[in-house]
Point group: C2
DNA sequence: GATTCTGGTTAATGGCATTAGCTTTGTGGT
DNA sequence: ACCACAAAGCTAATGCCATTAACCAGAATC
């Protein structure tokens, strides 16, 4: 019996392929094992069951997404940075729908790599927001709004949740434009004092 | 053997309970059957398998959500209407997380009730946007932005996706405020003509 | 070269979904 | 009232998937 030479990374990479091609809900140990030409229980030598696999996929995907966003925004600031970030974000979600969906999983405090990736993500967004003069709690609020909008759009797009046939690119551009305007007019304090 | 007196509506209602209490991913025919005190295959007399059940749950949930939003915004316009809508939306998602998640499923064109619910939803949002002078394609773009932001926020909240401990209510209020500002300054045409 | 660890195997168990086929209960027509 | 039939339940059978246990071969280490 020849060895297959698997590693956790290889298994997770294959899981990403399966999830991206068939959807995260169709990610199954059986499918991954078959793709790797190995029996299903063999995967347990590298991964803690289906749940552990999903967890590691989340880490991998978040790392990848953050990388793309970071690369896209480097050297930019303000409107250009927000546009580039939004574009990279949506692009990743569209090209890696399963991985992106895996990202949603709350970071496992026991997985340092996942926590690190999450922190890196926050750092990038904060860097972009700094150009708008947003810091501290204001930056946190703004980050949440920004992330909500981007995440909501790409999720709905992936789920074919936008019924009408109008151009989605245009809608996305307009939303990003609206976010930019919002950030420029972000309140100094809340609730408004006057 | 006494009859259980089930109907599709009863089965779907029980499915909503299960999904809301345990999460949509844990919605299972076995759980529903057990709750109803009936054998699993009996459900097939009322529902087209797990997939059909999820489909009907989607319809039910979307109808319910639209109802809440409609009731909340009736008689209001502009900022007040947007705030009320956002509040009702988030409230539904928080109190019925499983049902809300089911809502994501793309409307089945073969299910008139689902299509009707989706249309009603659009109508409500359009009515709110009309107060901002948004109509036609501009209303479609704005609806998508609005929906993306609300959906993204409540989804991330439900998934515990916001890592930091800062007040989520405040962040939501600020986001809704930002949406309101965006709608007031929505461009007349796109791309901007300089 | 013997030992030991590791990455693979097959076998067994259990949950869930689905289909088929049977039985009982209501109900409607006569 | 009675008979027939449709509808609503049931059990049994099948199959997929996840998980665990027990086993075996190959690689590395001493």
């Amino acid at each position: 019996m020849p060895r297959a030479g698997l590693t956790p990374a290889i298994v997770v990479a294959e899981a990403a392929r399966v999830a991206d091609e068939q959807g995260l809900d169709r990610l199954t140990l059986a499918a991954v094992a078959q793709q790797l030409g190995v029996s299903l229980p063999s995967l347990y030598k590298h991964v803690r069951g289906l749940d552990g696999l999903a967890q590691q996929l989340a880490t991998r995907a978040l790392t990848e997404l953050t990388e793309r966003v970071t690369d896209a925004t480097v050297g930019l600031s303000g409107t250009a940075a927000v546009r580039a970030m939004a574009s990279a974000y949506r692009d990743y979600a569209r090209t890696h729908p399963g991985s992106y969906a895996a990202t949603l999983r709350a970071p496992d405090p026991g997985d340092p790599a996942h926590v690190a990736a999450a922190e890196r993500t926050v750092r990038v967004v904060f860097a972009v927001l700094a150009a708008y003069g947003l810091e501290g709690d204001r930056a946190i609020d703004a980050t949440r709004a920004l992330r909500s909008a981007l995440h909501g759009f790409v999720t709905l797009e992936a789920a074919h949740g936008f019924g009408l046939p109008q151009d989605l690119n245009r809608s996305y551009d307009l939303m990003v434009d609206a976010l930019d305007r919002s950030l420029r007019t972000w309140p100094e304090s809340w609730p408004p004092t006057g």
